[in-house]
Amino acid sequence: MTYRRFAVTIATLTLLLVLLALACLMFGSVDIPAGKIVDILSGKGSGNTAWDIIILQSRIPMIATAALAGAALSVSGLLLQTTFNNPLAGPSILGVSSGAGLGVAIVILALGGSLGGLLGENMGSYMAILVGALLGAGMVLVVLIAFSAIVRSNTMLLIIGILVSYLTSSVVQLLNSVASEEGVHNYVAWGFGNFSGVSVAQMPVYAGIIILALIGSALMVKPLNALLLGARYASNLGINVSRTRNFLLIITGVLTAVVTAFCGPIGFIGLVVPHIARMSLGTSNHVRLVPATILAGADIALLCALVSVNNPHGIIPINAITPVIGVPIILYIILNRRRIQYFN
């Protein structure tokens, strides 16, 4: 019974993934006939160089970037929710994304450039940016761990996360006030969020790190399930709680940092998708939850990407779309928390 529900959910999410990826391939700011797209994908070429470049160097990288970003942020959210025993935790609401953003801003300024350098092809500079994002995200996670030991209340931890976000944003703004006008402009653009920032050359690093971290989280299903019972039970079941928690938070930090460095601080996906996965599966069991979260995250991000690029008046920022999807779902969850099993 529960297995059937799992199979149906996974099949549906996979089908959606395929359909959304195809839609992202076919629809965009430039109309390319479906037949020509098939020609381009089969290697024959369409006879139109611009179309070839749009498909191979813009749309396909965007599909991969969006799907991986969605999966990464959603798994981050799931790990944070389980680790902090807090259903409203997520990488953006707890300030992990803004921490990564601060790291990015500092590196850019230290390199003497602007945030526009993010899109550059210079291997050394975007690796530095990546390291900056990792350190920034890591710093926020350390702060959260420290506070979570002091304040036991879930709500307080969320408020601390929000405060950390404000603080990092204000530091970034202060940094920007001494930066060039172009830097500020680029920072603002980066803050909108977009899935077109990963070039073909950068893709191996971006995809490689995310896939490794996703595999890492899939291997943690046993301790994650133990943590559903809280630290004391988990420890009684033989789980080294502090080591497990640190490992989970490192994975979270890596996933969030990589996505934030390349795509900007993207809100709501990490918070909302684990709930979508739980409600579709009807379980908190991570054995089923992790794969469903990965797929649902990829689906939602592709949907955002599709909407983003299909506006006749220009690209819509990703961060203008995620709240429209996310807020109603969060409100639904809050209003129905008595009827949703995993809150009780």
Binding site: M1, L229, G230, R232, S235, G238, T283, I340, Q341
Partner: protein, 261 residues
């Protein structure tokens, strides 16, 4: 006889808490013995140190002094994995398991015995089934934890500890949030587990009359921070029960094994 059945022993154990650099000792010089097949109830006023003692025995907090041995092996230096196969815990902590079925929850008890990904084999499933049967929760096996009453949830948590297959089960206030009927049922279940399955069961409780009736042994934390141990009728006869309370107007009657005011 007593030595043969002893499974957990403490020597010169001191428990309390560390407040910065200061140590606050709640109980000290404890030489306690838990035996197979016996239900022990730990009684004491709020703040007397019941939970602190249990947290030390389950290794959730380091004792301030002394040793705890299980089957002659030092509990504090053994690996967490080995420990998880010796002592099962039932506590009153809030858990996020509402969307797990009872069967899944009880299955978590198999974690010390399963591999890296926690996969269950047929033997594990049989043990889970048996644990749910023994705890009287089998009829709700495939229902969500969220749909259970408090008493049923506690049975499921006890089944989870049973599935862990530890010789010792320690329960922190297992009947605290239960109505009277569920309290009695839970206590009877624990008594059966001790007497018929040979488990060494230790629980902390506020319910003195039930502990007197159903426990094989009491550990009493007196107002003078001593721990008196023995079987209930002996402790009542010795007048030890009177030292549980500050209030001198509460007395225990050794004929009816209950207290009067």
């Amino acid at each position: 006889m007593k030595e043969n059945n002893a499974i957990l022993t403490t020597h010169d154990l001191a428990v309390g808490y560390r407040n910065g650099k200061q140590q606050v000792t709640l109980l000290s010089g404890l030489d306690l013995v838990m035996e197979k097949g016996k239900l022990v109830a730990l009684l004491g006023q709020n703040g007397a140190g019941k939970s602190t003692l249990l947290r030390a025995l389950t290794c959730d907090e380091r004792p301030l002094n002394g040793t705890i041995e299980v089957n002659g092996k030092d509990l504090l230096t053994m690996s967490q994995k080995d420990r998880s196969r010796l002592i099962g815990l039932v506590s009153t902590e809030r858990i996020q398991a509402g969307a797990l079925t009872v069967r899944e929850l009880v299955g978590l008890g198999r974690q010390p015995h399963t591999g890296f990904l926690g996969r269950l084999d047929d033997e594990d499933r049989a043990i889970i089934q048996q644990a749910m049967t023994d705890s009287g929760i089998i009829s709700k096996a495939d229902e969500y934890m969220a749909s259970l009453s408090d008493g049923e949830r506690q049975k499921a948590m006890i089944a989870r500890a049973l599935a862990q297959q530890t010789p010792i089960i320690i329960l922190d206030e297992p009947t605290a949030f239960l109505d009277v009927a569920s309290r009695i049922e839970t206590m009877r279940l624990l008594q059966t587990l001790a007497h018929e399955r040979g488990k060494a069961v230790l629980l902390s409780s506020h319910d003195i009359s039930q502990s007197l009736m159903l426990a094989d042994e009491l550990w009493l934390i007196t107002t003078g921070r001593q721990v008196l141990t023995g079987n209930p009728s002996k402790l009542v006869a010795d007048g030890a029960m009177d030292r549980l309370f500050e209030n001198r107007s509460i007395h225990f009657n050794d004929k009816i094994l209950d207290y009067s005011f």
